[in-house]
C-alpha cells in the first residue's frame, strides 16, 4: 500500500469494475486526482460516467477495484461513508437532492438533520442562524426571508449553489461536480467557475463532469475520457480537445462544426403578434419562415419553452395572437398543433416524451397511431416497419424496433423521439433543447436531419441555451432575453461575440 507522500494523490481509483446484470458498465477504470487540480471527465452517453460518479458518491457499490483517499484505501458503501472519507458530490439532478416542503435553511442543514447533529427541537429562527455559516462557505449572503422560504421557490441557479455550499461545509478533499452548469446562466457560470478556481487554489481535488468542451478548456488541468466503461484517453494541460473528442467517439468527428450552407426561406409559416411570453415581459412580434432553421438562443427562464409550447398549443398564450399561413391560429391543446403539422420535441425527454418500458416501434407510432390503424385495429406489421425505418434513417444503435427506448443511450433515445416526428411530415417542428444529454456524434446526426427537414420545406425551430449548438444547426439566430428578442440575424452575418454581447448587454439594462 502506498503512502500519501509517495503517491501525492488526493483520490485514486484502481481497477473499478461494475456491471448491472449482463450489462458491464465499468471495466477496470483507474483514475488519479491530485490535490489542487481540476480533472475533467468526458464521455458520450452510456460511457459510464454517471455510474462512476454514483460509486464515488456511495450510491452504487463497485464490483471490484480499490478506492484510495490520500493514499489510504477506503471503504465506500453508502453516501455517509463517502462523506466521511472526504468525498462530496453535487449531482446533476438537483430536484433529487433537495427536500421539497422544507425551508431553504433546513435544506442547508439537511446533512445535520439526517445525522441527528442538528438540534432536535428548534425554531426556524435558530435554524436560519445555523444555516448562515453553511451559506457563507460560498459567500452566499441570503436574507432571512429567503432562508425561511420553501426550497421550491429558489431558482435553479440558487438551488445549485445551495447544494454546492452544503457539500463544501464538510471541507471535502475531493469534490465531484456532475454537469454543474447545465441549468445556469452565463453570469452564474462565471461565478461558479470563480468558486471552483478558488477551491482549487485551496488544494481541493475536483472531478468535473461535463459535455461542454469550452468549459473544460477554460477550467481543467487534467482530462480523462471514458468510452464503453474504459478510460480511453488521459491528458494533462495543455489539453488537446480534438484528440479527446476523437477518443470519446472513436471516429473522426471534427471539433469545428461543419460550416452551415445557409438556407433562407421566404414564405412565412407562423406569425406572432403582441405575444407576451413571461409574466413580466413586454409583448413581442415574431415571424418564423419555412425552408430555414431558426435557432433561438436563450438562458434558462428566458421564455424559450414558453414560446415553443404556446405555438404547439399545449399552453395558452398570456396575451397576443398568432397566424398560421396567414390564417388566425388559436390552438387550445397539443392535438390542434399536431393536426396542423406543428410538432414539438419537448425539453425533458424522460418526463415528456418517453413511456416507461415502451418499445421503439410503439413509442414512435404513438402520435400517428391512426395512420397504422385502419378501422381502429392496429396493423402491427406496418407499425414495426415504421419503427425500423426510423432506426435506419437516424442510424440508431439498438437491437431492433422491439427494444425498449429507455434501454437506449441518451443520444439514441433522442434520435427515436425526433425521428418519430420527422416521419410525420412536419410543417413546423420545434426542438426544445434537443441536444441535452446527447453525445456529439448523435448531435451531428440530429443537426443534419433538422437541416434536411428545412431543405425539404419545413419550418424548423431549435431552442437552446448553447451558442455552439445553435451555430451548428441554424440559418437564422434569434436571441431571447427575459421574454423578448434582442437580436435577429442570419448566422453568416453575425459572430459569436456579438451574440454573447447581446445577451449580457440586455441583462445589465434590466
Amino acid at each position: 500500500m502506498s503512502t500519501e507522500a509517495e503517491s501525492g494523490y488526493a483520490l485514486e481509483l484502481r481497477g473499478i469494475t461494475k456491471s448491472f446484470g449482463r450489462n458491464s458498465v465499468l471495466k477496470d477504470v483507474s483514475l488519479s486526482l491530485k490535490p489542487g487540480r481540476i480533472m475533467a471527465l468526458l464521455g458520450a452517453n452510456g460511457a459510464g460516467k454517471s455510474t462512476l460518479i454514483k460509486i464515488l458518491a456511495g450510491a452504487y457499490q463497485r464490483d471490484a477495484g480499490e478506492i484510495l483517499v490520500s493514499g489510504a484505501e477506503v471503504d465506500i458503501h453508502d453516501p455517509m461513508s463517502a462523506a466521511a472519507q472526504g468525498i462530496q458530490t453535487v449531482h446533476q439532478r438537483i430536484d433529487q437532492s433537495v427536500v421539497p416542503g422544507m425551508t431553504v435553511a433546513e435544506n442547508f442543514l439537511f446533512e445535520d438533520i439526517v445525522k441527528g447533529t442538528a438540534p432536535k427541537v428548534s425554531s426556524i429562527g435558530q435554524l436560519v442562524k445555523l444555516a448562515k455559516p453553511v451559506a457563507a462557505t460560498l459567500d452566499l449572503d441570503w436574507p432571512d426571508k429567503k432562508m425561511r422560504s420553501d426550497v421550491f421557490e429558489l431558482g435553479t441557479a440558487d438551488t445549485q449553489l445551495m447544494l454546492l455550499a452544503r457539500a463544501l461545509v464538510e471541507h471535502p478533499k475531493v469534490l465531484v461536480l456532475d454537469e454543474p452548469t447545465s441549468a445556469l446562466s452565463q453570469a452564474e457560470v462565471e461565478r461558479l467557475f470563480d468558486v471552483i478556481r478558488r477551491l482549487r487554489s485551496e488544494g481541493m481535488a475536483i472531478l468535473y463532469v461535463s459535455h461542454h468542451l469550452s468549459e473544460i478548456v477554460t477550467l481543467a488541468d487534467d482530462l480523462a475520457v471514458l468510452r464503453d466503461g474504459r478510460v480511453e484517453d488521459r491528458q494533462q494541460a495543455p489539453l488537446d480537445m480534438d484528440r479527446a473528442v476523437r477518443s470519446m467517439l472513436s471516429q473522426d468527428v471534427s471539433m469545428e462544426a461543419a460550416a452551415v450552407t445557409e438556407q433562407r426561406g421566404d414564405k412565412v409559416a407562423i406569425e406572432l403578434h403582441g405575444v407576451q411570453l413571461l409574466k413580466r415581459s413586454t409583448p413581442v412580434d415574431l415571424e418564423l419562415r419555412y425552408g430555414e432553421v431558426t435557432g433561438i438562443i436563450g438562458l434558462l427562464g428566458a421564455g424559450k419553452s414558453e414560446l415553443a409550447r404556446s405555438i404547439f398549443g399545449v399552453d395558452p398564450l398570456r396575451a397576443g395572437s398568432m397566424t398560421l399561413n396567414g390564417q388566425p391560429y388559436r390552438p387550445t391543446n397539443a392535438h390542434h398543433g399536431v393536426q396542423n403539422g406543428i410538432y414539438l420535441v419537448p425539453e425533458d425527454r424522460a418526463k415528456e416524451a418517453m413511456l416507461p418500458k415502451w418499445t421503439v416501434s410503439h413509442t414512435s407510432s404513438l402520435p400517428f397511431i391512426s395512420r397504422f390503424s385502419p378501422a381502429g385495429v392496429i396493423d402491427f406489421k406496418r407499425e414495426k416497419v415504421h419503427g425500423q425505418g426510423i432506426l435506419t434513417d437516424f442510424a440508431v444503435v439498438s437491437t431492433g424496433p422491439d427494444q425498449r427506448v429507455d434501454a437506449l443511450s441518451g443520444g439514441n433515445q433522442q434520435k427515436v423521439v425526433v425521428g418519430r416526428w420527422m416521419s410525420g411530415d412536419p410543417r413546423i417542428i420545434l426542438l426544445d433543447e434537443p441536444f441535452r444529454g446527447v453525445d456529439i456524434g448523435a448531435r451531428h446526426d440530429l443537426s443534419a436531419k433538422a437541416r434536411q427537414a428545412a431543405k425539404d420545406g419545413a419550418c424548423v425551430v431549435v431552442l437552446s441555451s448553447d451558442i455552439e449548438e445553435i451555430e451548428e444547426v441554424a440559418d437564422r439566430v434569434l436571441v431571447l432575453v427575459e421574454g423578448h428578442f434582442v437580436l435577429d440575424r442570419y448566422t453568416t452575418e453575425v459572430d459569436r461575440d456579438t451574440i454573447v454581447a447581446s445577451m449580457s448587454e440586455e441583462k445589465a439594462n434590466v
Partner: protein, 366 residues
C-alpha cells in the same frame, strides 16, 4: 481507435442479449411468470382429489357462472386501471343496476328488455358523470369515484324508501307492486346455450371484446399510454381526457351488465347488492396484473384471478368451512399475487400516482 466510422452510415444492430442466466435466476423468473397459474392448477387438483362434488362435470361451469359478476366488474376495473386510475364506484353501480331493473319490472310492470336498455343507459350515464368529474373537474380518480360510490349507494334507495324490491310488496304510495322480475329476464342468469350458462357466455364475449380493444386497437394502445405517462401522451398530440373518460364509461357499462346478472340471479331487488363487489373487483384486477409477470392490467389476467378466487371459495365451502374463512382466503390469494409481483419479481414493480402500475428496470443508466 482502428474502428471505422460506421454509426453515421448504417444502423448498428446489436445482438440480442444471450440467455446465460444462472439457474437460480431463471427459476425465479419461471416462478414469477408461471407460479400463479401453477397455484391455480394445484388448488384445482387438490379440491378435485379431496371433494367428490368438485369432480362433477358441471362444477367448472357452475363456478364460472358464479365468477361472472366479479369477473365483469374486474374487467371494468382493468380498463380504469389501464388509464392509471381506479373506479371505486363499480360495486355501487352494480347495486344501482339491481335496484333500477327490479324497480322497472316490479313497480312499473315493464318488460325485461326495457329494463335491460334502461339499466345500461343508467350505467353509461354514471360513467359519464365519473368521467366529467375526473377529466373536466380534475378531481383525482380515486376520490371522485369514492364520492360517487356513496352518492349512488344512497340515491339508488331513494325511490324505494330504502327497501329491497320484491314482487307483491307495498309501494311507497300504498299500492301493491304490480309486476315481478320476469322469467325471460331471469334467463340472463339461469339460461343455458347447450351446456353453457348464459352469464358465462356474456362474460367470455365481454372479455374477448375487452382484450381485443386493449391489445389490438389504437384506443387500447392509447389507454395504456395514458396510464404509462399522461404528459408524454398529451405532448404527442393525443386528447388524453377523452381516453381517460372513455375508460370510466366502459367501466360504468360493464358494472350495469354485472348488475343485470345479479338481479337475474336473486330474482328481486336487494339493498345490499354490490356492497362486497368493489373490493373483489379491485382484487381480481390486481391479481391480473401479476399473472404471467405482465406487470400491467390485462383482461385475461383478471379472468384468471377471478377463476382462482372462485376455486378457493368453492373448494373451502365444500369442505364445510364457514363464510368468514372465505374472506380470509380471498385476502391470502391477493397477498400471494402481490408477493409474486413485488417481492419475487426481479423487475421492481411500483405504483405511480394513484393506482397506475408500471414495471421498470433501473438498469442501463451508466
Amino acid at each position: 481507435m482502428s474502428e471505422k466510422p460506421s454509426a453515421k452510415t448504417a444502423p448498428v444492430v446489436l445482438p440480442a442479449p444471450k440467455e446465460d442466466n444462472p439457474w437460480g435466476v431463471r427459476a425465479q423468473g419461471a416462478i414469477v411468470k408461471y407460479g400463479f397459474i401453477a397455484v391455480t392448477i394445484l388448488l384445482f387438483a387438490y379440491f378435485a382429489a379431496t371433494q367428490p362434488a368438485f369432480r362433477t362435470s358441471t362444477m367448472l361451469l357452475t363456478m364460472l357462472k358464479l365468477a361472472s359478476v366479479t369477473a365483469i366488474l374486474g374487467l371494468g376495473m382493468t380498463f380504469t386501471m389501464t388509464v392509471g386510475g381506479m373506479d371505486m364506484s363499480v360495486g355501487a353501480q352494480a347495486g344501482l343496476a339491481v335496484q333500477m331493473s327490479a324497480m322497472i319490472m316490479v313497480f312499473y310492470n315493464m318488460t325485461a328488455s326495457t329494463a335491460v336498455v334502461f339499466v345500461i343507459l343508467i350505467g353509461l350515464c354514471v360513467g359519464l358523470v365519473n368521467a366529467f368529474l375526473i377529466v373536466v373537474c380534475r378531481v383525482p380518480d380515486l376520490l371522485a369515484t369514492l364520492a360517487m360510490m356513496f352518492v349512488i349507494q344512497g340515491a339508488g334507495l331513494i325511490p324505494v324508501a330504502g327497501q329491497s324490491i320484491s314482487s307483491g310488496m307495498t309501494m311507497t304510495n300504498g299500492h301493491i307492486a304490480p309486476g315481478k322480475v320476469t322469467a325471460s329476464f331471469r334467463l340472463i342468469n339461469n339460461g343455458n346455450v347447450g351446456p353453457i350458462p348464459v352469464p358465462v357466455i356474456i362474460m367470455l364475449v365481454l372479455f374477448v371484446v375487452g382484450w381485443f380493444i386493449l391489445s389490438r386497437t389504437k384506443w387500447g394502445r392509447i389507454m395504456y399510454a395514458v396510464g404509462a405517462n399522461p404528459t408524454a401522451v398529451k405532448l404527442a398530440g393525443v386528447r388524453v381526457g377523452l381516453y381517460r373518460g372513455l375508460a370510466y364509461v366502459i367501466s360504468g357499462f360493464l358494472a350495469s351488465i354485472a348488475g343485470l346478472i345479479m338481479v337475474a340471479r336473486i330474482g328481486q331487488g336487494d339493498v345490499t347488492a354490490g356492497s362486497t363487489s368493489l373490493l373483489e373487483a379491485v382484487a381480481v384486477a390486481l391479481v391480473g396484473t401479476s399473472v404471467l409477470a405482465i406487470g400491467r392490467p390485462n383482461p385475461w389476467g383478471t379472468l384468471l384471478g377471478t377463476v382462482l378466487i372462485i376455486i378457493v371459495v368453492t373448494g373451502l365451502s365444500m369442505m364445510g368451512q364457514p363464510y368468514y374463512i372465505q374472506d380470509t382466503a380471498k385476502g391470502l390469494v391477493l397477498l400471494l399475487a402481490l408477493l409474486f409481483s413485488y417481492t419475487l419479481s426481479r423487475k421492481p414493480m411500483r405504483f405511480v400516482p394513484a393506482t397506475n402500475i408500471t414495471q421498470f428496470k433501473e438498469e442501463n443508466d451508466g
